[in-house]
Amino acid sequence: MLTETLPVANAPDALPATRPIELTINGKKRQFRLAPWTTLLDALREYANLTGTKKGCDHGQCGACTVLIDGKRVNACLTLAVMHEDHTITTIEGLADSATGQFHPLQQAFIDHDAFQCGYCTPGQICSAVGMLNEGKVENKADQIRELMSGNLCRCGAYPHIVDAIQEVMNKDR
């Protein structure tokens, strides 16, 4: 183990070929040819042309790449596309009502509450909030919302308005 891992020897014997991968994104099955090291984030942005999902830190620390896999919020930068062939992926582009084009209530609430400044973290914030409400573990209290949204950073500091927007949606759901 200690002797065989010189940098040159560390490369695989042959570069693995890309492989056909089918992903279900925003209700549609789509086919790609991807290398196994393509992250879900890069697959969405560079191959599916869904650039709503943002690359911030690319290390799971900022939450800008948050998407929903089978309804659960995850960091798309820390998972490989090839691992999700049997899952349903929802991005910010898939939240609005596809028939009417009407915004998801959280999207509308973010606009109404001015819950962003530059907007770069917003798709991740909204997907994370949708995931949080799906989980059903949060009460309509600001401190709980802040804790359960702590995986999403906003460098503009729009946090108070983000919490307001989420609370409004939770109030309407009652």
Binding site: L78, S128, E135, G151
Partner: protein, 342 residues
Amino acid sequence: MNPFAYSRPASLADTVNELAGSSRSRIIAGGTNLIDLMKENVERPAQLIDINRLPFSTIDELPDGGLRLGALVTNADTAYHPLVEQRYPLLSQTILAGASPQLRNMATNGGNLFQRTRCYYFYDTSMPCNKRAATNNGPGGCAAYGGYNRIHAILGTTDDTNGQSSCVATYPSDMAVALTALDAVVQVTGPNGDRSIPMADFHRLPGAEPWRDNTTQPGEVVTAIDLPTRGFPDHYTYIKVRDRSSYAFALVSVAVGLEMDGDVVRDARIALGGVAHKPWRKSEAEQLLIGKTLSPETIRPVADALLAGARGYGHNDFKIELAHRAIIRAVLKSGLDNGAVE
């Protein structure tokens, strides 16, 4: 990220075979730590073995009254499982004190045990590190020993003068601190069959081989973590001291479980995180609490015993006093009310 081959074995036996076949293979489950390390070129596997479709994603009751946590159950599903919340609230609260909701939705119980240290010199392949040098990834030595070591270990370190095996890294998991306090047992399957590893023996001190984080053997796969019957649901606390109030690694953490007979302690478990290369526990320290009523005076000798031999490396000197105070506060809180995370 370096190129790698990807496989998805259909069975545990195939997984063990593939894993045992090459030291350059790694298992991927949640991937939250491994993919990050691969992006930093700290890990450079030639093959990833995706085990997500293997049947280890349930939580089941054991015949003896304990609970078996499948290795592939996510941290979130474990923390919010009704039986874990009811019988092992210490574990539930401890898991929820770690990472972010997104990461807890991906990270698995098995993967949590294999987290690498968050030592910033380990992450920087241009810096000396005895953990990385063992795989020819960067120079040997320990940059943290004489460097900026605010987050580093105060107990069980290796600090030999020639630096050949020095290591002051900490193991970063919250979950494992609670598992250690609860006397959990890790179930593994390898080329030589199945074996059980008590949590106390799963992770190891750096010793002369700081590149070895744990005691698993090549080819071994974690399939489950078993919780014994006693979960200390009436008196428990997890205190996590960190630089911000959420989404940060522990500088010092304390997991406590007590059994009380009125005001008197009948049994005690105390485990520390953020202070060593493994969760830190000493039964002789816990024994000092048995038969005592709880007060800062009765707990102080316990903290002394638990932290015996602690030493700082400059920037982390504060951890010794911090740990001492956190232990007293956590034990007091466990006895007086039912403590949640702070």
